[in-house]
Symmetry: none
Subunit: 210 residues, 4 copies
DNA sequence: AATGAATGAGCCTTCATTCAT
DNA sequence: CATGAATGAAGGCTCATTCAT
């Protein structure tokens, strides 16, 4: 596979992500992806078995990269009590990663809402890597020594008041700024304050319990 | 229009909402809606000009009812300082309304993420009724005597840490419970705590500022 | 059948004729006919068995009236050598009839061009009444004492250089005037001259042969 | 585009022309065109945007070819006084072209009668090429040094007693022969005589005026 | 005589996918 | 690798016609 072809393949993926995000998986057309990626339609089928396979590939890459980020964090001693700096770094890294993959995030949200998906991909954001058979993940599991009920509560709180607000901020940022006529910079500021006054507060309170 | 026909029309709408929610607007098939609503496919087009018109009708009804709830609240003196009881009532009412319309909510979220929608329907949940030319809305406007910046901040905070978490809880509840193997009752409890410790906290702090 | 219903029936026919003429039989929609005739669609089927039956009824009436005009002419001694005045009168009458039924003429032309019509209704304009089993028509036959070849030639000449130009003038008049920006009055004048210098000339020459 | 595909495209066009002529544009079915052209139905849409686009393409080609014939004639010195031979040649050529495109002619007539066509395609037969921005057409314009009224009269006479009789002869020939039980050869003869005694006579008289 | 509701058949068009080169 | 051509299977929508009252 020469360099040119590898580039075609990537262009297909990128374009597909963009169009899936814009129109939804069902609303997207292979024709349009081909046209915008400037490749022949049949070439898409040369690389990918089907429309669904493109989506799978996008998801696979996304979760592979997400997990890699997380594993990296863990390996650097992520969950240790005194790793504040490391945590902040990870959050910045991870936020940045998601922001630069907002197309994927949009697709993830939409597909997660559909009725027939056995598994809800979005939930992996809260127990990321949980499905991966990976010995390194054991390190994470080790750190969870709390009751099931407590864990469930944490998951709910993190997902619905931490992860989802952030996800929403990413996927709606553009539309919000246009609708309310503010800059993305301003939005970032407002959203930061919003999180500070709600979700972050929760973390602070929790820590002070100890 | 006799009672029977009115019922057909409603059955079409309900079925459409369910299937749009399950498969997404683009993934939904008119044939399936007809089959499940137990009406002839052509009858759907007798009542609604197109697939899109069904969606519009669903949206229109949803926002009409939402607005009605809000107006009702306002008329009962909603925003007065001492109307705590009234506020709680409204929140219960509104929550209940949204929960019993979770199909619509799902559709709303998905359609709001699409690229070409001029207006993002989901945003109406934060300034609901804002578009209505209604003298009764003046009562609401009266109560807004704060700077634009403050208002923007409130909107962002309310939407991303209040409205969206709740919306997500509604549209993901079923999947979440299935995935994490908990009952809806338990979920309700967890989510309630989550909001209490984050968004509600913010409201309390804000009030104590005065 | 009361007066009101009779009027509905007629309004259906008139509207159908207009719309068939505008859009062609296949392009016409029963819905549109009903709407424009201001009757319920089902009422059309109360009066007429099918869409085709409306067309048939229009044709039947048209040919009945055309034939009546001709018979009237014959009875007044139409084909006699010295009945110049009578002939002129008939021509005026007949022209006027066709002109006030230009919708029917249009339909006739279009339907005559279709592939599957066994009989070409337009041809009846040249041997009008020929299909009618009517003893009064014998009078006409009596007057034809010329060879088959001569008769064929006359038919061709009359149809293609007399009837069809006139028919075309009727069905295209409006469009022609609009396209070439002249009044209907002017058009009438031009067409009259055109016929005078071509087809009429042929009649004059023919007569002078004797 | 390989030879095979070019042939498919042409077969679609030819078949469409035939079926449009037989059943009318509205009566024609894409399924039937596909079946008779022996191509997959979707292939039709691969080449032509819509049913209407096929019609447009047919018209475009027809007028392009017609105009080419005329331009050719003009370039050979068509309108010169002494170009009798050239004129006869052109007439033969043009007649032959129309006769071998009688399907198109039928469609032209039928579509010209419809109500909503802004422009009447049939009228282009009388001022063919008039719409083309072509310097070669100036040669034609040069020859028109007569009053507007005279021009209008000529147009009417030519169209209604020259063009339309000929067009009708082409589109009705088959039906006429079948109906009156004569051969096409005989018909040609009769029609030739008919034109000779009417329209041609007018041309002769006109010339002798000078 | 009149009508709102309902329907089966079919039409134009689209789309994911494959073929042949 | 790459591509123009081709295709089967729908999908949205329409339409003449009928039903029930």
């Amino acid at each position: 596979m020469d360099k040119n072809s590898e580039e075609s393949k990537q262009r297909i993926l990128n374009t597909a992500a963009r169009i899936f995000a814009e129109k939804g998986y069902d609303g997207a057309r292979i024709d349009e992806i081909a046209r915008e990626a400037e490749v022949n339609k049949a070439l898409i089928y040369y690389y990918y078995k089907s429309k669904g396979a493109i989506l799978s590939e996008l998801f696979r890459t996304f979760f592979k990269e997400s997990t890699a980020l997380l594993l990296n964090f863990v390996e650097r001693g992520g969950f240790a009590e005194d790793a504040e700096e490391n945590k902040r770094l990870f959050e910045a890294e991870y936020s940045h990663y998601l922001e630069s993959n907002k197309d994927l995030l949009k697709i993830l949200v939409v597909e997660s809402l559909k009725g027939d998906v056995g598994e809800v991909p979005l939930f992996r954001l809260v127990d990321i890597g949980g499905n991966e058979q990976n010995e390194r993940m054991d390190a994470i599991e080790e750190n969870i020594r709390i009751s099931d009920k407590e864990q469930q509560q944490i998951y709910v709180t993190e997902f619905f008041t931490g992860v989802m607000p952030f996800v929403c901020s990413v996927v709606f940022k553009e539309k919000w700024c246009k609708h309310f006529k503010i800059t993305e910079q301003e939005f970032k500021q407002y959203f930061s304050v919003a999180m500070e006054e709600t979700h972050e507060q929760y973390h602070k309170n929790k820590k002070s319990e100890f």
